[in-house]
């Protein structure tokens, strides 16, 4: 299943780059080890069972709208001087790549005979996806969400409720994604006999980083084939945003052995890396253990986790998936920060040039790709547009002061002048 990944994949204990100096592993309470072992075995058996993989592919196709198209953003490309291709994960059911992961994990949950799922969520996209998968498969669902996030993503809370999930607002710690994960783990340790934890990103203890990657890797497998079929070449560079890193590892995996394809992950630079108010975990480069894996962690000199900052709830996480840490460590992928302002500019630009409103998370990838375009005129850059921006309209409204624009045109709005490039031929 992952033989071709040998150079970049984990060993059987979940270590990327070996236990002594690498990343990953399983730093977990003994009480959860049996469940993680059970999950590992069930997952390996399922992936080796053609009926499971066929079911997964069928559900993705019939229910989730996968494969998503690969789209040449022509007006944007013309403007930036490079060929920009967008992998349209925003068109998936529930509006993001996350549906791939949850349908895979929920299908596995059914196979394992468990009746309840729990999940953590930051922006709410994974929570909505989990609630959706739970409804689809008839599973009970509880979603943990930091109370800071339930406020800034109220629409997604409403979606989860409508889908029949229970949403628990978490007030402990910094009341964001990391605390939602803590609370979900506390639930799981008490409910593990009948409950599956649908982990939302390619992080956490073994087997989650590998398991989530395998359920998301269709993004890159499809994009690579689509790029070859539609344009006859592989991209020169690929780009994705990185919070925990599920959409990024989902895109990257198919390209890791293509030595000529440069791989870029863009982390949330928040107010700017130098301000200290960011979520650029890999760029900061401090090793530690968080949520069950050795990885890069935002932490103080005593190893206490530092609160991350980003305009994007989905990237606002002080850890990162261990395989990304490994890819950075061995130099196969480059990770750079993108500020809130750059991301919001990219969001506006894509909206105005292509009629696509991206999620703020995905706008980080796009902003990074626009930077790459400047350095790579004429080259092909493939960007994972991991989610749509509907959920972020509150953020956009506030950031661009959109409500005020009505009264006196652009003078009150933070948006620039309307796009000046030529219309589409």
């Amino acid at each position: 299943m992952t033989a071709h990944l040998a150079g970049f994949d984990a060993d059987e204990h979940g270590w990327f780059g070996g236990a002594e100096s690498g990343f990953g592993g399983r730093f977990m309470p003994e009480a959860l080890v049996a469940a993680l072992d059970e999950l590992t075995v069930a997952w390996h058996e399922a992936m080796a069972d053609p009926s499971f993989t066929a079911d997964f592919e069928r559900i993705l196709r019939e229910y989730a709208g996968v494969p998503s198209p690969l789209y040449h953003a022509e007006r944007l490309s013309e403007r930036v001087g490079a060929r920009v291709l967008l992998k349209r994960e925003d068109l998936n059911h529930t509006g993001a790549h996350k549906i791939r992961n949850v349908l895979g994990q929920a299908l596995l949950t059914k196979r394992m005979g468990k009746t309840r799922v729990i999940a953590e969520t930051g922006a709410g996209q994974h929570g909505v996806a989990s609630a959706t998968a739970a409804a689809y498969f008839g599973l009970d669902c509880t979603v943990y969400m930091g109370s800071v996030d339930t406020k800034r993503q109220a629409l997604n809370v409403a979606r989860m409720n409508l889908l029949g999930a229970k949403v628990v607002a978490v007030d402990s710690g910094s009341a964001t994604l990391k605390d939602a994960i803590n609370e979900a783990l506390r639930d799981w340790v008490a409910s593990v006999d009948h409950t599956a934890y649908l982990f939302g990103t390619a992080a956490g203890p073994h087997p989650f980083p590998s398991l989530v990657r395998e359920f998301c890797r269709g993004i890159g497998d499809e994009a690579r084939a689509q790029c070859l079929e539609q344009y006859g070449v592989l991209p020169d560079a690929i780009a994705a945003c990185v919070g925990g890193g599920s959409n990024a590892i989902g895109l990257f995996t198919a390209f890791l052995d293509d030595a000529d394809v440069d791989v870029y992950g863009f982390e949330a630079g928040g107010d700017g890396f130098d301000t200290g108010r960011h979520a650029a975990t890999i760029y900061a480069g401090d090793r530690g253990v968080l949520h069950g894996a050795r990885t890069f962690v935002l932490q103080d000199e005593d190893g206490q986790t530092i609160e991350s900052h980003s305009i994007s709830a989905g990237l606002d996480y002080p850890g990162v998936g261990p395989q990304h840490a490994h890819l950075a460590d061995v130099g196969r992928a480059t990770y750079l920060p993108v500020t809130d302002a750059e991301a919001m500019d990219a969001m506006a630009l894509l909206s105005r040039t292509e009629g696509i409103i991206p999620a703020v998370e995905s706008a980080h990838a796009l902003a990074g790709a626009l930077r790459l375009a400047e350095e790579r005129p004429g080259q092909t850059i493939l960007v994972n547009l991991s989610g749509r921006g509907d959920k972020d309209m509150g953020t956009a409204l506030e950031y661009f002061r959109l409500g005020e624009a009505e009264a006196g045109g652009d003078e009150h709005s933070q948006l620039g002048a309307p796009d000046e490039t030529e219309g589409r031929a």
Binding site: G25, F27, E30, A31, L185, V297
Partner: protein, 274 residues
């Protein structure tokens, strides 16, 4: 001084040991030390000092609240070691219970060395298992420190055997599936877990006491866990109930310490009643 010495002493007295937990720096560093000395004076045989951590996934609301208070007031790892030194000076074996990242950040070898020179007995590590990372085991062996790992009702017999073989001091049996916090009744999972753990220890021919934790809040529960014809624990571990007592007296530290002493005495009678 290894915690096994206190377990052995309790055994010669025909009773279980009482193990008391409080986080360092709660309500502040000096107050924390005073509270732990109160536990010692009132009858605890072993002290566990919690290292407050930002992401305590195994702790319920009570211990979370105390640890958060300590962190908000700026407690540092060096304050925890200072607390160890002050408590160990009473002659009572003193362990640190800590999530792994603060140790890794401090430096595993350096932590072991500084813990040993502060007089600490060793570490209880709730989020690493013996097979998760070999670095602690190496450092603990180097400095002759206790390695207390946890077993749980969900542990397989193979994992229990692997864990008891790796422990020094005692093995910590978490008697319920869930986070820390007091419970009104003791778990029916405790008996089978202690029996399986003792079977593994007997098969290995080693001398390793079994401490049982999670949920105990009074002498009657302590007696039930320690009862030789019942669950048969070698030690009863109490944490959240002590923390709760201090949380309940935020503005009257003197009364808080007196209540702490009364609770400790009740528990100490409990382990002697068995």
């Amino acid at each position: 001084m290894s915690s096994s010495i206190a377990f052995a002493k309790a055994k010669t007295e025909g009773r279980a040991a009482l193990v008391g937990y409080l986080p360092a720096g709660f309500p502040d560093v000096a107050g924390g030390i005073e509270a732990m000395r109160t536990l010692v004076d009132a009858g605890c045989d072993v002290i566990e000092i919690g290292l407050p951590y930002s992401d305590p996934v195994m702790d319920g609301p009570t211990i979370q609240a105390a640890a958060q208070q300590a962190l908000d007031r700026g407690v540092r790892t060096k304050d925890v070691l200072r607390t160890v030194e002050a408590v160990a000076a009473t002659g009572t074996p003193t362990l640190v219970m800590t999530y792994w990242n603060p140790v890794e950040k401090y430096g595993v070898e350096r932590f072991a060395r500084d813990l040993a020179s502060a007089g600490g007995a060793g570490l209880i590590t709730p989020d690493i298992t013996p097979d998760a990372d070999p670095s602690w085991s190496r450092a603990a062996d180097e400095h002759d420190l206790d390695k207390v790992y946890l077993v749980a009702p969900s542990s397989t017999d193979e994992r229990i055997a692997m864990t008891t073989a790796a422990c020094r001091g005692f093995v910590y049996a978490t008697a319920v599936m869930g986070v820390t916090g007091t419970r009104t009744s003791t778990s029916d999972l405790a008996g089978p877990l202690v029996a399986r753990t003792k079977a593994a220890i007997a098969q290995q021919g080693i001398d390793l006491p079994v401490g049982v934790g999670l949920g105990v809040s009074n002498g009657a529960q302590a007696a039930e866990i320690a009862a030789k014809d019942g669950i048969g624990a070698d030690g009863v571990i109490v944490g959240s109930a002590f923390v709760r007592t201090l949380l309940d007296h935020p503005d009257e530290p003197g009364e808080g310490l007196r209540a702490l002493a009364r609770l400790t005495e009740d528990l100490a009678r409990g382990v002697r009643r068995a």
